[in-house]
Symmetry: C2
Subunit: 417 residues, 2 copies
Amino acid sequence: MRAELVAVGTELLLGQIVDTHSAYLSRFLSELGIDVYYHTSVGDNRERLKDVIRTAQSRSDLVLFTGGLGPTEDDLTKEAVADVLGLELIVHPPSVQAMETLFTKRGLEVPPSNYKQALVFPGGTVFSNPNGTAPGVAVTHERTTYILLPGPPVELYPMVENEVRVFLERLRPSNEVLLSHVLRFFGIGESHLVERIAPMIRDQANPTIAPLSKEGEVTVRLTAKAPDHERAWTLIRPVKDTIVDEVGQHLYGVDDDTLEVVVIRALAEKGNTLAVAESCTGGLIARMLTSVPGAGSVFPGGVVTYSDEAKHEWLGVSKEQIETDGAISESVARSMAKGAMDRLDADWGISVTGVAGPDPAEGKPVGLVYLGIAEKGRQTSVHRLSLRGSREKIQIWAAKHALFILLERLKKGETTR
Amino acid sequence: MRAELVAVGTELLLGQIVDTHSAYLSRFLSELGIDVYYHTSVGDNRERLKDVIRTAQSRSDLVLFTGGLGPTEDDLTKEAVADVLGLELIVHPPSVQAMETLFTKRGLEVPPSNYKQALVFPGGTVFSNPNGTAPGVAVTHERTTYILLPGPPVELYPMVENEVRVFLERLRPSNEVLLSHVLRFFGIGESHLVERIAPMIRDQANPTIAPLSKEGEVTVRLTAKAPDHERAWTLIRPVKDTIVDEVGQHLYGVDDDTLEVVVIRALAEKGNTLAVAESCTGGLIARMLTSVPGAGSVFPGGVVTYSDEAKHEWLGVSKEQIETDGAISESVARSMAKGAMDRLDADWGISVTGVAGPDPAEGKPVGLVYLGIAEKGRQTSVHRLSLRGSREKIQIWAAKHALFILLERLKKGETTR
């Protein structure tokens, strides 16, 4: 099946927003085994939109639109598709009712302009929208299927996951399943990883093996096609095992895992807690950890200590030590990690001190970073990194390195309880 | 002039990367007064790419391509354009030389496959690439101009800013300039702001007035067309003044300002320092402040205190107080802000405690947030917010609110020195 995506909205053509929907829908369709050949963005202009629809009609079996289903005169997607296909839109009473319920709950009348959102294609499909007033609509006409979806992410994503997925699974010509399994690595570059598994990549067939690097991490996506889920997994498992044999020491998680989620899970499994002391990462580690709901059970807190005063007051690092060794030093990293752990009576403490740039500090080069890992009842260890890139990149890499090293220690079972 | 953008690369169609280039180039072209009517993404496939080029040729005066200029067989953009236009590519000796210099510097031979990157259009323009081996190329053929640019951002952005800008300024039919000025607001919704300046929006001509909302902020972009920069500014100024008269209390900055940059600038101007105590924002405020290079001169540090123990140890909030009033309370917000300020002997302290969700806490609803603002020698004030949305949205709004309120206080000149 040949698919293409059309994103509708003048704000896209002015560069006011980035089209992230097309990447999201492409991944979604690729997991269903549907090939996407084109993305198009077009403005809220009826004639140009109709031209795009005609072009899509001539080359694709499936066309997914996002945006242009709102209540204003500028929202034209449904009207333009109906025009090109020569169809009359009809009222969909359940959508009218859903809209009236929504407005009544807020103590408002439905504005007359909103009623056009409840118009749908005759003989088509309607996807309900619990998060807004525009239902999604689909229609198949002369062997091409058109799916029109609302633009706001909070409306689009649940509709795609809950209703469009089922619709497309039924539409697919074969009853094969596609199973994807993602391996997540840290501490190894993409080219190095690819080299280590080069023969497998060269001879790949089913599953396919797709490496990708992003923000210091590398993922390898294995995708198998089989008549059912179990047989797909049977194809993936030996390939995964071989990759893990080769580069397993860098594997930190699978599928939707993130370093922070995996660290929090590992701490929770041991009933351990973690305190954090950050200098050059400026709160990034705390921010990553607290983005995970429920982080509070393993993360009592952290400090961001830019000044010597803060390192002294909150972590007990002596001013003499900072004067002698420098704030960016192995010894201060050690004292910071231990200080954070001791102050909060935590099981672990991690610290980061270094030069994120853009300028050198204390005569030390941009990218020099010390990570401290303190563990109750053990010696505190310090790791020295030399990172390259922008301020933001150095901060992200340093934060992830700290979490990855902690995770390695947690996995080794070096606990204190 | 009607322009369109074509992004080339199969990774776009698989959703492995998001097409941010098209938004960037759209903003760039709109500032030059060039209208963009379509964005297309297409894979590394010669026939489909040629179809896209033919479509663009039939409807646009200017076509900008990104990607597909690399050395591999998959990199086809230049070859496909040459095919469609019936042109023979020719060797460009300066590009060959630049490439050889680059490789020699690294002690390497030029791989034979790289030489195709030095092929250009006869009678066209070449944009040098100091950051890679693929020059950009342009050619005008039958009244349509084609510009082909490399995909890696580190190569694309400088080439666009330095060379493509000059090329396009010459290409424009008139010698008008376009001047944009962006007003940045916080604490007012887009619809409310639009309502307040509705007559101006309705009657807009030159400058145009474009409101946009993002992450709790609203921007208004004023864009004027005039023969020169000074006359464009003369058109913008009275419109800006009228908007500021109407909603100026929500204006925090202009153009590329961010809340954190403006706060740091305001603190630095007074020679003041700021300490931060965060609970439900989990380090986000510290992270925002430390993303600004040089933040250290006004930001000695902050704490992230999730546990009662951390609030006690690092901020001196008594456990009895937390037990009596709850950690999410006006009194604890007050003690946290004052505690952070006092501990670091700072001029200001801000604190956030609340429920970011997804679940209620202490029997208090998701979205309830207390912000404390402490100032040396003055009473600490506390602001209560009821926010709505996801965990991430509540965290971002709470952090920005805290910075905005601090900024208002800083602007009032309520300093202690």
